[in-house]
Symmetry: C2
Subunit: 222 residues, 2 copies
């Protein structure tokens, strides 16, 4: 019975969430803002990739950022040196939510100067499970998969890879020292989502960043 | 209102969970079984540490293992070469739960030959957030924190570090190539939990494994 109640409530929460996400999607589309929901395990490199990205896009494409974290403003502080406006969401006051919800994102949007933004990055809470279950009104979901997590992770956490349009394979500069086979990683990603795009990247060395910017460009004109 | 309902249901679920966990704890204590709830992000090295541990304890201390995963039996397959009995829990049929619940563990216990077990390892779902919220009846929670995740993670995901008795700092063989300062990592861990034990370890090189076995020994006689 416990789980029966739980399933019903989860259904209601998801339905309410999806409704708010649909409103956000409509609003952002009306303003011609393209938005990317960046998801990954803790420490996979979402913020480091954003640093590289904002650096390159500065002066070219007006960006905005929503930073999702359970606690601290450490990530937002790392991005403050760029011109892009940033809003930090901390989920700790709301029970330490393990994901961003559509309503949290909608509240954050009210604090951003949307008229000046064409490309909006939403960095989700570091978690390879729960964020994939919640539509937040984004244009595309992107999963950052960090090589040190091991080749088998797409198979073990399939939903996030199924929901994403693109997989950024980060920390490829460590592939050799880790003894990781990139082809097998690609195969495992494609096994759970044959349509997904895959870009090997290193936020540290900068490798792959241009390809990622091209992908963002295509997303903006599509 | 949505969040009001949600909070009440979450409270009820946690209360039901805690009751089952208390029964498990009583049963395991009566049988003199010590249990460790191993938690971490995906790919932090829980299974690799278990491989090293079971290898060393084989023939010395009778162990059992409960493997928690959303999908696949990949982890259980890695441990099957040891003598320890293993039960795999897949949460995918139950909505892809992002954590082990007390009831899932209780069901798994029924499939283990408890009379022959003194030390029970429960490997939780890879997630640095949700598993910390659920008591599963364990003797001690242990968090595996993998260096490539970055020095700031204890501050950003504090609950798991607060709930744990021990932090295994894994993949220290990568500290140099990652340019990570171990002292700063220790400081960050202790800032959220001054009482926690910290053991640097490398499941790959074997460094720190003996200290971890000593810790387990103390837990068994305490």
């Amino acid at each position: 019975m416990e789980s029966g109640i739980k399933i019903n409530v989860v259904r209601n929460i998801l339905a309410a969430n999806n409704q708010i996400a649909a409103e956000t999607r409509r609003d952002l589309e009306a303003r011609h803002i393209v938005s990317v929901n960046l998801m990954s395990s803790p420490g996979a490199g979402k913020t480091a990739i954003l640093e590289r990205t904002l650096e390159k896009l500065q002066g070219r494409i007006p960006c905005g950022v929503i930073e999702g974290d359970i606690a601290t403003t450490l990530d937002a502080e790392r991005l403050i040196r760029f011109q892009a406006p940033i809003v930090q969401i901390n989920t700790e006051p709301f029970g330490g939510d393990c994901h961003l919800s559509a309503s949290a994102v909608r509240q954050a949007l009210a604090d951003l100067p949307l008229d000046g933004i064409r490309l909006l990055f939403i960095e989700n809470v570091g978690n390879l499970v729960c964020p994939a279950e919640f539509d937040i009104g984004e244009t595309a979901k992107v999963v950052v998969f960090s090589l040190p997590e091991g080749e088998d992770k797409p198979l073990k956490y399939p939903l996030m890879f199924r929901e994403s349009k693109l997989c950024l394979l980060n920390k490829i500069d460590l592939a050799e020292v880790l003894g990781i086979n990139l082809d097998r990683v690609r195969q495992n990603v494609r096994r759970v989502n044959p349509q997904i795009g895959i870009i090997p990247i290193s936020a540290r060395s900068g490798e792959g960043v241009d390809e990622w910017l091209l992908w963002l460009n295509k997303l903006m004109v599509s």
